[in-house]
């Protein structure tokens, strides 16, 4: 039986300083520090890069070995009470959502991340005064050949052969862009003029050069092999997905992670089969992106050809059979059933008239604005003003954002998203992380995905390992945290 698909989203936002020193690293640091200071969080709680030896083993948390933390060029690194990580990655502000258990929760905490960024811009403006402004975009490219990612992570079983996982998930990664693509004016394929392509489906497709590999910044692979489970490495793998676009549409995010979780469950249960394995995925991912008509076919390994829509219908129909045979417990039964309904609806819409799903699909919503504006002012494909529309679709300033005006459906209320800026999900270990940071900020010296380190003023620092992503939930430790007056009491009771 497929493992529960614990998942999360990491978004690197575009950052631009107008009227001041346009240094993205210092601007990102200022942005995040402004937010953290405004939250009055204990700023000394840093991300834990030390691989310390555990001195305590929490009840219910298995502990096999500590995992070397991911080492990145980071200046600012904050852990938030909602269980998220907010930090400078390369030259971008990045938010990794807390771990969640289904697509709807993913949308809630992804929306919370966007609200955190919006608030951060406001706080930064207060610091900077009128002379300059930090402007954030939730996009994946500057239109000039530089890309930055929106990654997804999914818990999969270590025992699943990685070779089969790679070949079977690739058809979904190449074709899901027909509903999850964020749209782009122009072309960024090396060696090809930018205006060669007026409009394409995906922000990211131009940047993928390999089928599988470890890189994330150069020669990007469709399937990334980074192997840092941030959990028990004997049982789990974290599939690190770098191929997707950042979505402004909540339904697109929902479908992107919801369908991927379902397809991964099918692969884990070996119910997907090899019918849709692609012949040549790298050219295919670009070809699909460059074909908003959705008519072109890509080659399958078995020699047949199929459109991206046909591949998606094929995966969907397999999923229907899978649901009947096995159910959707691994992805959350109710959410999984809703994802199946919306998956079918979006494919039906794309098949009959893509504009009919402009309220769900970013590339369609953006294309309507780009084409409408182009027609009205008789602009050439790839005109600068159309690129401006493309960029501003992703603008995180509410008064400038075109996506907010594009008639996109929402799944989450504003109140729910704002609550999730400070509240962790109740369904994963993020609950333990977030609640402890909220209740005992002065007693925690470091946090990581798979541990919290406490300093309770006696003995060495005490590390609480969290190697099981589904332990430390509200059901598991809610009462314990509620009824522990101090961190020391909490640790003593955890150790019992």
């Amino acid at each position: 039986m497929a493992l529960p698909k614990v998942l999360g989203i990491e978004t690197e936002y575009g950052i631009f300083v107008r009227g001041g020193d346009n240094n993205p690293v210092s601007a990102s640091s200022l942005l995040i520090n402004a937010y953290v200071a405004a939250q009055r969080q204990a700023s000394r709680i840093g991300w834990d890069f030390e691989d310390e030896q555990p001195t305590t083993d929490a009840r219910g948390f298995t502990m096999d070995e500590s995992i070397a933390p991911e080492v990145e060029t980071t200046l600012v690194n904050a852990v938030l009470t909602n269980g998220a990580r907010y930090y400078v990655d390369h030259a971008h502000p990045e938010i990794s959502t807390p771990e969640v258990t289904d697509a709807r929760e993913a949308v809630v905490w992804d929306r919370a991340a966007d609200e955190i960024v919006r608030d951060s811009m406001t706080y930064a403006r207060d610091l900077l005064g009128d002379s300059s402004e930090i402007i954030i975009h939730k996009n994946n490219s500057d239109g000039k050949g530089n890309s930055y990612g929106c990654h997804e992570n999914y818990l999969v079983a270590r025992e699943l052969p990685f070779g089969r996982l790679t070949s079977q998930i690739t058809p979904h990664f190449v074709t899901r862009q027909i509903f999850a693509g964020a749209g782009k004016v122009g072309c960024e394929l090396p060696g090809r003029p930018n205006d060669d392509i007026g409009y394409q489906i995906s922000q990211r497709a131009d940047f993928f050069e390999e089928e599988v590999g470890l890189e994330t910044t150069l020669k990007r692979p469709i399937v990334n092999t980074r192997d840092e489970p941030h959990a028990d490495p004997l049982k789990y793998r974290r599939l690190h997905v770098i191929v997707g676009d950042a979505n402004m549409s909540e339904v697109a995010t929902y479908l992107k992670v919801g369908t991927t979780a379902i397809v991964l469950s099918m692969i884990e249960d070996d119910e997907l089969g090899d019918d849709w394995i692609l012949g040549n995925p790298v050219p295919a991912i670009r070809q699909v992106s460059h074909d908003p008509s959705l008519n072109q076919t890509i080659m399958l390994r078995n020699g047949n050809r199929a459109t991206a829509l046909e591949v998606q219908w094929g995966l969907f129909e397999r999923a229907q059979k899978y649901v009947q045979a096995r159910g959707l417990a691994a992805v959350g039964a109710d959410v999984g059933a809703d994802v199946m309904e919306k998956w079918e609806h979006v494919l039906t819409g794309l098949e009959h008239d893509p504009d009919s799903v402009a309220h769900w699909v970013d590339w369609v919503a953006k294309r309507r604005i780009v084409e409408g504006y182009s027609d009205r002012y008789d602009l050439k494909p790839g005109a600068q003003r159309l690129k401006a529309i493309d960029l501003q679709y992703h603008d995180m300033r509410a008064d400038k954002c075109l996506a907010l005006r594009a008639g996109l459906d929402t799944l989450v209320t504003g109140a729910e998203a704002r609550a999730a800026m400070t509240e962790p999900p109740e369904t994963t270990r993020a609950y333990f992380r977030g609640r402890c940071l909220d209740k005992f900020p002065d007693d925690i010296v470091a946090a990581n995905w798979d541990s919290l380190v406490f300093d309770i003023g006696r003995d060495p620092l005490r590390r609480v390992p969290m190697m099981e992503p589904l332990r430390g939930t509200a059901d598991h430790v809610g009462t314990l945290i509620d009824t522990s007056a101090t961190a020391r009491e909490l640790l003593d009771r955890l150790g019992q």
Binding site: A91, G349, D353, I369, L391, D399
Partner: protein, 64 residues
């Protein structure tokens, strides 16, 4: 197009009610068309001042 693909799609459409689904999506499409005209009316006010210059100067460092 591959025969097997044709077959699988036919099966799919038989088991569903494509006409109803198509009607529903067309209705939504009409509403969106009206909305987009309203947006185009206001877009010059919403677009960044000197939008073209802004696009030209918008350069990011590559990330992951």
């Amino acid at each position: 197009m591959a025969e097997r693909i044709q077959k699988s799609k036919t099966t799919h459409e038989k088991s569903e009610t494509p006409d109803t689904a198509a009607d529903a999506v067309t209705e939504t499409g009409e509403k969106i068309k009206a909305d987009i005209d309203d947006l185009l009316d206001e877009i010059d006010d919403v677009l960044e001042t000197n939008a073209e210059d802004f696009v030209k100067s918008y350069v990011q460092k590559g990330g992951q």
